[in-house]
Symmetry: C2
């Protein structure tokens, strides 16, 4: 047991026992977690020793091996990998160039599941639209044979709500453009920064729609293309994107547990996703997320044995289609879960707690909000929880908790080469661990102090 934690517990609260935790005991665990180093250690280790880990590739397999070794070394029980198969798409060469009237290179990256150009690329006129709605409304002959450019004006929001609406060019643009006979589509990256780092992200063509090359320009490049188009002269672009589908490969979820005193009780599930996009090292998305959830579980384990089992899941293949979350649901969705929660919105501070635990557990939701308040966390809806991998299970009605991170800067980094360790603030990470530790403490059913504390 961590000496700082012991000191904090002894200073402020009664010793742990099999009884439910008192508010003072929860507070002591929470405050001790503000000194956490476990989450940094995981984030630094995974991003350094594995780096980028695209789903279904050899790199993600290395990440699973790293994960198993790490979780075992941390003392978790039942560490295992549950594998599943999935289709794999990998990036190739990517280049974009304005040929006329003002020749210059643009920075581009392919969107996940993009079609490919021929190896020599395609040359075509560019036709620009301010929204997918404008693209949809255009006559086919205005688009046929051309490279479509779609821009947008995604704002920064704390809750990330801009991503849904302003992500439409990525999600719907390629299908609409292909149906109209476009030769390709380039979009303004779905992001809020101003760096020459494009944002990738998954999209899929609707059934029966022919894949066309689909890329995201960095935001400065998208603005440059807009300025060039505004000059009113015909704009020709050369576009080279050579991604390919490599067939079916294996991915997997890495699972570990803190065994509860009563394994027959519904479990607590916390996690994040292990895979990342290939452009960065996935520090913010989502090494930090799984590190936060895991550090909190580890801190409970250090404190003693919770009544309920805590299951930690590092989901595989989230970015490319939630394959890990769907596999977990298929294998475990019918097991009773007391609450599920996922950390996958970066590494900035948590500002809000939401939950959907049901009417009968209102008191628990209130106790949770009260225990989190000293961390600067406001009480949100008690009829809402979210998460990508756990989304399908939440939709099935499984109880959930949402610890909302501040997303103001999240879409500066999301899915870009810039998602690297230097973007993670260790202090914000600790606030996250404190919140997750608090949540697990409140929902744990009580923590019994170890009979033989491993004092160091």
């Amino acid at each position: 047991m961590n000496r700082i934690l012991i000191a904090a517990l002894l200073a402020t609260a009664a010793p742990l026992s099999a009884a439910p935790l008192t508010p003072a005991q929860v507070a002591a665990l929470r405050d001790a977690a503000l000194k956490d180093d476990y989450a940094w250690d995981i984030t630094e280790g995974l991003t350094t020793e594995v780096g980028p880990r695209l789903a279904g590739t050899e790199a993600e397999a290395r990440a699973r091996a790293w994960a198993v070794a790490k979780l075992k070394a941390m003392g978790f029980a039942n560490v295992r990998v549950e594998t599943f198969d999935m289709p794999v798409w990998v990036r190739g060469e990517e280049r974009a160039e304005i040929l006329s009237p003002f020749p210059q290179n643009l920075v581009i990256t392919a969107l996940g599941n993009s079609g490919a150009t021929p190896l020599q690329g395609i040359d075509a006129e560019v036709v620009g639209f301010d929204s997918v709605e404008a693209l949809a409304a255009a006559p086919d002959e205005a688009v046929r044979g051309k490279i479509v450019f779609v821009t947008h004006a995604m704002p920064r929001t704390m809750d990330g709500s801009g991503y849904g609406q302003f992500g439409a060019p990525r999600r719907q643009g390629p299908t609409i453009a292909s149906r109209k006979g476009a030769a390709g589509i380039v979009i303004r990256s779905i992001g809020t920064d101003h760096h020459r780092n494009p944002h990738t992200g998954v999209m899929s063509f609707a059934d029966g729609v022919a894949p066309i090359p689909a890329g995201a320009l960095s935001i400065p490049d998208a603005e440059q293309l807009q300025r060039v188009l505004k000059r009113g002269k015909p704009v020709r672009m050369r576009l080279l994107l050579t991604p390919r589908n490599t067939g079916t490969h294996q991915s997997g979820n890495v699972i570990a547990e803190v065994t509860g005193r009563d394994p027959s009780l519904p479990i607590l599930l916390v996690g994040g996703h292990l895979d990342s996009w290939d452009l960065g090292t996935g520090a913010v998305d989502d090494a930090a997320g799984l590190a936060i959830a895991t550090a909190a579980a580890k801190r409970i384990m250090d404190a003693g044995r919770p009544l309920r089992t805590i299951r930690v899941v590092w989901f595989g293949a989230e970015e490319v289609g939630l394959f890990g979350g769907l596999d977990y649901r298929a294998k475990h969705g019918k097991e009773p879960h007391y609450a599920i929660a996922e950390s996958d919105f970066g590494a900035d501070r948590i500002w809000r707690v939401t939950s959907k635990l049901g009417e009968s557990r209102k008191a628990e939701a209130d106790a949770l909000a009260l225990a989190l308040a000293p961390l600067g966390i406001v009480k949100g809806s008690t009829d809402e929880a979210d998460g990508s991998d756990i989304g399908p299970m939440l939709a099935d009605g499984v109880p959930g908790v949402g610890l909302s991170q501040d997303g103001t800067h999240y879409f500066d980094l999301h899915h870009t080469p810039d998602d690297t360790l230097d973007k993670v603030d260790p202090e914000a990470l600790r606030q996250n661990v404190a919140a997750w530790t608090t949540m697990l403490a409140v929902l744990s059913g009580g923590i019994e102090e170890p009979k033989r504390p491993r004092r160091r």
Copy 2:
């Protein structure tokens, strides 16, 4: 003549005449320049309609053609190009990859004048150093056949003074590494940001030293390599850089004038450089700089005829070796110059004025500082001026003025793909134009209002 300017002049100052300007007249010109749009117009136009413009290439030639048309359209006199020949180096493919122990790609760019690897790249062990001094002190056998990595800890400074000291890995590292038999060298980018955008920049091998491949890792990648090296296992890297020297090509300085009432008097020279590195569009380095100097000259021209001729120079081929500045000096260095000044430190606000006008012109330096003070500009040394292209002439003893820009953020962008228009703050640009207009007004010898003002 600009209507706003007229209004400002009439409201606050006596009409212009052939006499030296009164402080109130200078102030009126200064304050009217805070509404300037000329500088933005030039910066936006050059970066959009030409984009990157590496010295000696076809892109720089397009930039000269653009410049001549623009300066003529603005009404400058004697618009011309003075050409010169120079050796040209161009970028090729560039990739770096950690092969073991933790395979992953790193973002790299070649330094100007880097040697090339074979087309298949080189594979070698990496040996890391914290400084060029540590590299120099290492025995040759610790370096021979390896890829040298040199890092540093360049801080942000308002006056940019960190660049001199902490730029040593770029300027000296390649020569030292080559002399010790290194297979190649990669450095931490000489910069202060944390984006995956490496900083290029010129270096040259000492006479008789064999060129080796020399690249700059982005700062997040350099930190990643440091973390990997710290694990203590041998680190192997694959490095591919295929730049080449294309021989001798033409560059040139673009020159334009506001003809003074007495062309026999020593002239005022203001300028910036037209070429840019190839990675970005050179908005901050140095489209904004030449735009600021040119906008100020244009504002004086709008106000009337200065006593002294103002010569605007857009230097060619600055980045790769000051070829334009040296050519100007060879052709014009013996002509009398009343003062010379260059804007080449970004687009942030001016915070300080320095000058080196000589003892006999102390009153003029004081008047200049007094007129600039309302713009938030502090008085610096009166025995100092700087500038890259004008540096050799300043060293010759030509009088100069330095309007120091805030460099706190300059090395976030310097020589990176991120040097694009969105980084230029129009309000800061206007403050610059106001300062340069003030400087020209004070040194002009007086401005005579046009006989027939072109009222619009």
